[in-house]
Amino acid sequence: MVGAAAAALACHAPASISTGDAGAGAGAGAEEATPTPTCVDTLDARLAEAHTLYPGPLRTAVVDATFLYVDVDRSPFFDDAVALAPRVLAALRNGRIAPHPLCPVTVYVFGSRARFEQHCSDHRYVPDGTRNWGVWDPLRRDVVVDLSGGRAHVPTTAHELTHVVMLADFEAPRWFRECVGTLYEAPVFPRDGDIAGEDNWRYGALRTAVAAHDPRAHLGALFGMSDLAFRGDSASTSALNEAMARATCQWLDERGALWPFYRAWRDARADAGDLDGVAAFRRIRGQTPAEADPDWRAWVLRRGG
């Protein structure tokens, strides 16, 4: 049974985990769910929905009284995914993304590629490129992750959790959401409460594009890019934009500029200003993205992954 009372609105108390192996109808704890005007449902309702989708015994865990983790098909890495969540959430809330109360979220963890694909098919989670490894659906407030690739894919959950907490703080353009989200899909934790991203597989194609002076591959390209353009009309464009976004956040983070930039841009946009982020970038870096491009390109060419 899901131990944490299904609080419909969880604040940023220290991250916690409770686990259960609930059958359908077992309920989500003895305490009554607390309805609030903000959230459309509760962890109890989400547990019931998970049982409707996937009948039978279902291993679950609740993190932070907000995230209902569901082990759909006995993934061997379910526990790893659950254990990662509090570290990620604590680090994101530690001087990075401002903590806000969150409505419940279901995190469906799949160990089988076929089951993951069927779930995505049922919900029409169509990838921009060739395939998805994880999805955050803010309309349903569902996260879906495919861990069939092994333990190395567990941090996909960090990518998606970042989207969840960021959405509550900053309604950013897609490129910047992916900038931050992709950074933590390959996370390192230098110390408790700290998090950084390290080089990953996305940089192979980006290095090639930058080395070839592909006109699409430069730092200034992202600033002001529409959500539609960021998705691109082809898989290669979509992948290149994702890689550029990740490289931008990692490059900024290594210079201690990511979170000052984040806050500056978030606050400006909250006042309907700085739509493209250039002013915030200039304020934090003392130069425009175009002026910073040579440094960024050189940095990209030194990346591993």
């Binding site: 098919s121 919900h123 029409r124 989670y125 990838p127 955050w136 309604e171 082809s234 898989a235």
Partner: protein, 335 residues
């Protein structure tokens, strides 16, 4: 998930509960008002104002219904007109506005700009003398008024969809569907609604994509694809595949799955990718001739939905360019 008693999927989404669009319709219908409000607010549409509009509309209709029982149909100059003539006059603008709304929707679906013509076109003045009768006919039937308002909302939705304001478009269509469920079943409206629902979902999703690999059609998804399309057995389709090492195997799988569904597949050998309006078509796109019969139009909707169910990025159904020569074409472009 959400259990919002305010929403009424069966009422507002009647059209989408048919055939191959059913799953998507159910999925979007399950969005609670709060979720849709959040999307509206994020796009600068005031959900409260939208609700207020709806309430005002309802009040207006109720008032008109009440007034209609006692109010004679009169000309501005006070002349009393016969019931049949009055009804005919009222019916004309409704038909006109519906056609304009449908045309605007078709323009959007065709990929062009939404040329939404103002729906409040002045009514034409009667051209023949109207004899007076000493009767007191009823006012406009509420269903006619509701349909007029629904048409106006659908025209607005066409503009909103044309501007890719998907949440606002869906909201307008939902309101229209509540006023005029029958009109929601009309193909241009149902197609616009399905397109907006798909686009909204795609717009909102944040996904972790993988590296670029050749597209595949996994066996289980292929089986679902075939099952979804078997209802349209006998449908002819042209499979226009871009040349190259990547699209061709995918085309082979799609051709096999379509054939298993009983479709009649023609697969011309192309030397270059298909272009529409000078742009190479990437991913997949469903094109249907505007004068195609109803079965083909229905199959086109089902095909677009089944492709998404197979997790293949898809656009359409869109209007086929003039001279394309095939009632229904599935374009498979490069990735």
């Amino acid at each position: 998930m959400s259990d919002d008693p305010k929403r009424s999927p069966s009422e507002a989404w009647q059209a989408l509960e048919k055939g191959a669009l059913r799953d998507e319709g159910e999925r979007v219908a399950k969005l609670g008002n709060e979720e849709l409000d959040a999307s509206l607010a994020a796009r600068g549409v005031d959900p409260e104002a939208a609700r207020r509009r709806g309430a005002e509309l309802a009040a207006k209709l109720l008032a008109q219904r009440a007034a209609g029982a006692a109010q004679p149909a009169t000309q501005p100059d006070g002349k009393v007109v016969p019931i049949a003539a009055a009804r005919a006059r009222r019916a004309r603008p409704a038909a006109l506005t519906w056609l304009v709304a449908a045309a605007a929707a078709a323009a959007v679906l065709g990929g062009g700009g939404a040329a939404y013509v103002a729906l409040n076109t002045p009514e034409p003045a009667p051209t023949t003398p109207v004899p007076t009768v000493p009767s007191a006919p009823p006012g406009p039937p509420p269903e006619v008024l509701a349909k007029q308002e629904a048409d106006t909302l659908r025209g607005r939705a066409a503009t909103e969809c044309g501007a890719t304001h998907w949440a606002a478009c869906l909201s307008s269509l939902r309101q229209a569907g509540k006023l005029d469920p029958q009109g929601a079943a009309a193909r241009p409206v149902a197609r616009m609604q399905a397109k907006a629902a798909r686009a909204l979902l795609h717009e909102e999703l944040d996904a972790k994509g993988g590296s670029v690999e050749a597209r595949t059609l996994p066996a289980k998804l292929a089986a679902g694809f075939t099952t979804a399309l078997a209802e349209h057995r006998g449908q002819a389709v042209t499979l226009a595949c871009a040349p190259g090492a990547e699209p061709q195997p995918l085309c082979g799988w799609l051709a096999a799955a379509l054939t298993r569904a009983g479709w009649v597949v023609t697969r011309p050998r192309l030397k270059a990718p298909v272009t529409v309006d000078g742009q190479v078509v990437h991913a997949t796109r469903v094109l249907v001739a505007p004068d195609a019969d109803d079965a083909t139009q229905s199959a086109a909707d089902a095909l677009a939905d089944a492709l998404e169910g197979a997790l293949l990025r898809t656009s359409g159904p869109d209007e086929a360019p003039a001279g394309s020569g095939s009632p229904l074409t599935l374009v498979v472009g490069p990735q």
